[in-house]
Symmetry: C2
Subunit: 341 residues, 2 copies
Amino acid sequence: MVTIADVARHAGVAASTVSYVLSGKRTISTDTRERVQRSVRALGYRPNASARALASQRSNVLALVIPLRTGMHVPVMMQFAAAVVTTARRYDHDVLLLTADEGSDGLERVAQSSLVDALVVMDIELHDERVPVLRELPMPSVLIGYPDDADGLTCIDLDFVAAGAHCVDHLADLGHRSLALLGTPSAVYERQTGFAQRTLTGFAEAAERRGVLGVETPCEHTFDAILHTVRQLLDEHPDITGLVVQNEPIIGPLLDVLRRLGRRVPDDMSLVAICADDVAERQVPQLSSVSIPAERIGAQAVEALITKLEGGEVPALTLQPPSLTARESSCPAPHRDLTTA
Amino acid sequence: MVTIADVARHAGVAASTVSYVLSGKRTISTDTRERVQRSVRALGYRPNASARALASQRSNVLALVIPLRTGMHVPVMMQFAAAVVTTARRYDHDVLLLTADEGSDGLERVAQSSLVDALVVMDIELHDERVPVLRELPMPSVLIGYPDDADGLTCIDLDFVAAGAHCVDHLADLGHRSLALLGTPSAVYERQTGFAQRTLTGFAEAAERRGVLGVETPCEHTFDAILHTVRQLLDEHPDITGLVVQNEPIIGPLLDVLRRLGRRVPDDMSLVAICADDVAERQVPQLSSVSIPAERIGAQAVEALITKLEGGEVPALTLQPPSLTARESSCPAPHRDLTTA
DNA sequence: ATGAAAGCGCTAACAA
DNA sequence: TTGTTAGCGCTTTCAT
């Protein structure tokens, strides 16, 4: 292994000079700088990460805590993770991957051992045991999602309340009077997961505001569950003509189920999904959808952390405004048959 | 921050004694050990990771390199990643997440800076630029997948050749005489990705051996592409009655496409997929499938690394034997209509 | 503009 | 069974 001392010897300077050339924290004469840089290249020198971390009290590693639980939509999480890693690298940081099942102990472990400088925590529940821990940790963190009590924390998320409302408004604008929200599996609600809960809130509030019927139901992932859920929904509320879907894996089978139940999309039933754009575009018909800007949020989370690490200020809560793209799955409500009214 | 010196003082022993109590590398009298352990708890001591790594030349961190490219099936990758993290934790290691787009430079960076002790690299291509780099790196690595020239490397993978053959045998045993392999997007083949390539080999060899027709075609992910690919396939080979599918995201739409084209599964067309069990079970009808044991392979990769780190020997190539589960999507071939023969 | 030297917090060889 | 001590390779203060 080639050390800083080797480089210093090779360049005929002191080790500290090499360090300063590399960090740029001191002005170095062009001559010396170039000589050192040549030596670095000649010897293939790479600073030892542990030594650097020990001396500088900075590991240049961020922790990323991802959920590995049932009901989470995996591709979206991967987009987050990818964005976090890519952005971290842009700021010369690496990413340590933690799974949520280590719980708050895991957070304390990596933080208190100085393995990482800061943390990104995904999939925050409304009452999350990790939140008080994060608050006490001696280093910055950013939550993707936000808990009920977000005091003293930095949170970034899609504005799911607005997303739910947005879907209702879109359908209500098209003349639909009876809507349903087909949500995530019930386990997700029972965990009091923020995004699911808040979409529901936005949906309900908007339905009330617009004076339309707004029914809500969770939905599991199996085909039979989807069939059963939708059938029951339409039995109880036969006049529903607008569906909001927040449950990416059921989208394909759902279209099939609606076909079997004799509802054409969009003629008999308009659909708006909350999902990644590529998923929406891949369906037949293509789905009107509110997209989940995972890349944007992941990048923003890292940027907020870097800012905090440099002593800067960041907003306590950043909510991405949702944007709805109308595609083929939503259209004006069918005329009401007044004879059956 | 509480250091080992604080603990030593609190317990009335030398710092090295604390170190030895923690590592267990020396026999310590019960009395001292308990006193030290009490002090550790009392002060909430956590060894500093960088200091430990610097002194011991071991970071206790493994690198995991995951692909973020088109055509890869994301949920399977997440299963790998989850298994790697979970298993690493069982051996007291953490996992640093790298994306494949850092290329071989990324590997050199984390290895030569001693950021990690060892590497797990996923999605290995047949001719992979990272392979020669891994071979020269001063630390152990395990490849998930394997390149053409795997000399001096440790590789773990599902035996995709056998998987392809297995599917053919299953269908041939049921009397099918004309089969097709519906593969991954062509980009995956063009990258010379091992698993896709080898499945194809196994498929072709087995078809030849069994004396049945074996047609192969890549397939993109969009609905239109699936429709077009399958239609063309059945136009050119109308007597195909067995389909092998290695392309998880198209499975749902494919069933739809077959229905549209008037082929009932399994009555007119038997289907065998190479995919995760839960995906196979979620379909209607449930798919006969060769499962991808991601958890097993991920865990095995980490265990191999740990063994190597401890100076042990591991096999150069570990191929998981595929296992096929027959479900509802495959059945005996329809009787041939001899009048049209 | 550069160098010397004191740590950062831990491990492990050496001593006792 | 335990303590003393010399690093691990770097950053950063202090000195020049």
